[in-house]
Amino acid sequence: MRIFATLAVAVSIVACAGEQDGSRVTPDVIKLGVLPDQKQEQLRNRYGPLVDYLTRATGVIFELVIPADYSALLDDFDANRIHIANFGGLTFTEAERQSRAEPLVMRDVDRNFTSCYLVAGSDQRGTLQEFAGESFVFGPALSTSGYLMPRHFMKRSGLDPEYLFASIHHSSGHDETAAWIGSGKYAIGVANCVIVETMIREGRLRPSDVRILETTPAYSNYVWAVQESLDAKLKTVLRDAFLELNAAIPEHAAVLRLLGANAYLPAGRSDFDDVRFAVKESVVHAAESK
């Protein structure tokens, strides 16, 4: 008898080994969560056409969910109340760690995200090192492009901002950073390049006031991620619906324009290696600071 019991244990171990954690959940309504980085109404306008498009393209009903804040987005995703969500780089790594979020697609621009070091338009200095001893402005401490990644790349190129600069400051957002540099409050700062370019394009920032000193290497930032437990076929269908979006087709072009994209590309976990590393680094830094 003992032999059979032991055999049964052995067989079940092997059986468990053979069986992968199956992707087999197919919800009736797919809840689509977004980062609450704008007012609800603006978010509805921005994502509404996408929800309609996905519903039409996949034959599955999509529903937009707008969480109260970033942590609510993570909680809802973790509790499976959201099936697909648009995360920033930092929030994605958190969702990945917490709930094994699986990256699905990203905008063409997301894979080449950069941050811009801003200095006063009149400043003649040409490199970061020349600003040693000045005060430096980062974006919010939880911002991927305003703090996490620029700091990571500085460290990677052998510059320690906490050591290089006289003081470190945090703004409440990218436009505030740009404004502070423009007004001469601080000598140097870093902000999301897309926002800086938009501000310049829209005339909110004059090149004579603010100059781009240099840009960081490219990194991945935003990503649409799904529950890993979703049915594999549904994931493929969902991914293909995004990938089908073609700027040449007028109705697709409208959706893409609202989302700030030219097209969507498949996203993988390795796209966020840099971000993941930067997060680990900043956690270590935060622990050391305490």
Partner: protein, 608 residues
């Protein structure tokens, strides 16, 4: 062992189960490794190849603007021109053909790969490529061309990324399996291997302990049985001892009365002959009784200085009876043997014991040799012989040609209760007693043996400087009957010939031995010189003593004659023998009796 069989069944069951789990774990490990290898192969083959083809396709797509006349892809945006495939050169058509081939190859890979993940994307690449061809073949503006080229570029990148992501997933699966399952299985297998080894070893120890315990139990039972056997022997010994004692009293009376009667019946020879036989039988019975006493109960140790040869001579007949007809006894005693100080009874026991063992070792017959010799040891002996100091010893050898013993048995034979004989046959005390007697006599006993070649006991007894005591009755002084005359013995019985040869020879006579009358007459031809006395048997095959003497006297007229006979006087008369004319000696006789008759014949001269 049977009592514990269930434990071993259980333990072996557990060990077998452990072994099975370990094997299953190892097989699973192998299967996982195998699956990993296959997955890696798949990734290497399909994803890497697809990614390469996609990359080539993209490069070809990037060359189109330059083929259309733009310096760079970016420059194409600034150029203002319309063009059609018809106006384009063969380079463009060649590039488009190559792109078409690349797409066909991707599709072929997709078919082999058979994964729906890539279908839609591949369709999209094909569709966008068709758009490119379409836009180039029609007259369209530059923006339209750049746009379709970009859309194809994006579709290719989608496919390219999809492959790298699929590869990433597959590798992650492999890593996950390897991380989660493999170490667990490896740990299970190693734990089971270790516990299996420990279990196996523990089982061996347990088994050994149980076997040892059973051995001890068996040995105890055997020794109890032996003790019972000894008790029986002891009781029997007491009984025999009592009977032997009473017998001795009776025999003393019988022998004493017979001796008296022998003296009183001097004239009546027939009576005397009968009495002598009675006395002889009585003496033999007394000897037997003494043997019984020797074995039945411990005799008080009474060491005396003796010649071992005499003792051997005394027990020789007894030994012959003990060893039976199939075993030949050969005794070779050294002359001038040193005297030794031993208890004669104990020494007899030693020889008899060794003879009994020899007999038991030779169930199909063989040879038992008893030898004595003087040895002198001058140098200290090797460590193993440490008990033998330098000095003079008598060496007694008792050797047989029996089954022999192995070395282990040799080492143990002197242990009390050690016996190779079936239970009930041997006491296991014989050789230990022998050992005790020899060491008690300041001697040493050694044994050498090899299986199939027999056993040899060597006993060393220290030389005693004292004079030997007479143990077995009065002897006629050798000087009174010694002589140097030449004596011819004619006797058909070999034992008697030898006895006479040795006996008379030892008294100094020159002895000629003939087994029959013809050989006897040959000695009388003069070739062997003057013969002083002819001793002949009365009755011999083919002829009789009287006739032989007549013929011999013609050749040796000076020779005197003595006849020997084991028969009654009536039989002699029938054979024409007149005892009044020729001296006659009756068998059995001792050598002294014959020698004194010879001396009388020589000195008195009774012939004629």
């Amino acid at each position: 062992m049977k009592r514990y069989a269930y434990i071993f069944r259980y333990v072996y069951g557990v060990l077998a189960a452990a072994a099975i789990v370990a094997i299953v774990s190892l097989i699973s490990l192998y299967l996982i490794q195998d699956a990993d290898r296959k997955a890696r192969d798949r990734i290497t083959f399909y994803h890497a190849k697809s990614a390469t083809v996609s990359e080539r396709l993209r490069r070809q797509n990037h060359t189109i603007p330059m083929l259309l006349g733009y310096e760079t892809r970016e420059a194409a945006g600034q150029a203002a021109a319309t063009f059609a495939i018809v106006s384009a050169g063969p380079d463009i058509r060649g590039t488009l053909k190559m792109m078409s081939d690349e797409i066909a190859e991707l599709r072929a890979l997709q078919v082999q790969y058979d994964d729906p993940q890539f279908s839609a994307t591949l369709d999209r690449v094909t569709q966008r490529f068709d758009d490119v061809q379409d836009s180039i073949s029609r007259d369209v503006d530059r923006d339209a061309v750049i746009r379709v080229l970009s859309t194809l570029d994006l579709a290719i990148e989608q496919l390219y990324r999809q492959h790298s992501i699929a590869a990433e997933h597959a590798l992650a699966e492999i890593n996950l399996a390897a991380r989660q399952i493999a170490p667990i299985l490896a740990i299970i297998a190693s734990i089971l291997a270790v516990t299996g080894l420990i279990g196996w070893y523990a089982t061996r120890l347990l088994r050994g302990a149980i076997l040892r315990r059973e051995d001890a139990v068996q040995a105890l039972a055997a020794s109890e049985e032996r003790a019972q056997h000894l008790q029986k022997l002891d009781a029997l010994g007491k009984l025999v001892g009592g009977v032997a004692h009473d017998f001795n009293n009776l025999l003393t009376a019988i022998i004493g009365q017979t001796s008296l009667l022998l003296e009183r019946s001097a004239g009546d020879e027939r009576m005397r002959s009968g009495l002598r036989q009675v006395k002889q039988a009585g003496l033999q019975a007394a000897g037997l009784t003494r043997q019984l006493l020797t074995f039945s109960r411990p005799q008080p140790i009474e060491r005396r200085v003796i010649n071992l040869n005499e003792l051997i001579g005394h027990v020789e007949e007894l030994l012959k009876r003990i060893i039976g007809e199939d075993v030949r006894l050969s005794v070779r005693c050294a002359d001038d043997l040193y005297r030794v100080e031993v208890d004669p009874g104990q020494m007899e026991q030693v020889i008899v014991n060794l003879a009994v063992n020899a007999r038991d070792a030779m169930p199909n017959g063989g040879q038992l040799a008893i030898l004595t010799e003087n040895v002198s040891i001058s140098l200290p002996q090797p460590a193993s012989d440490a008990t033998l100091g330098a000095g003079h010893y008598v060496k007694l050898v008792v050797a047989d040609t029996g089954t022999g013993m192995d070395k282990e048995t040799c080492k143990r034979i002197f242990e009390p209760y050690f016996s190779t004989k079936p239970i009930g046959r041997g006491t296991g005390l014989g050789l230990s007693t022998v050992h005790g007697i020899i060491t008690g006599s300041k001697g040493q006993i050694r044994v050498t043996s090899s299986v199939g070649a027999g056993t040899r006991f060597e006993i060393f007894l220290p030389k005693s400087e004292a004079t030997a005591e007479e143990l077995w009755g009065e002897k006629i002084s050798a000087d009174d009957v010694a002589g140097t005359e030449t004596i011819l013995i004619v006797e058909d019985e070999a034992h008697i010939r030898r006895f006479l040869d040795e006996g008379l020879g030892s008294l100094g006579y020159r002895v000629l031995i003939a087994p029959n009358a013809e050989a006897g007459l040959d000695f009388c031809t003069g070739e062997f010189g003057q013969i002083d006395i002819i001793v002949s048997d009365v009755i011999m095959p083919q002829t009789n003593g009287a006739e032989f003497l007549e013929r011999a006297r013609k050749l040796q007229p000076l020779a005197k004659a003595i006849l020997m006979s084991g028969y009654t006087e009536d039989a002699l008369s029938d054979a024409g023998i007149d005892e009044s004319r020729i001296p006659l000696i009756h068998k059995p006789f001792d050598i002294a009796a014959l020698a004194s008759m010879i001396r009388r014949s020589v000195e008195v001269g009774t012939l004629h």
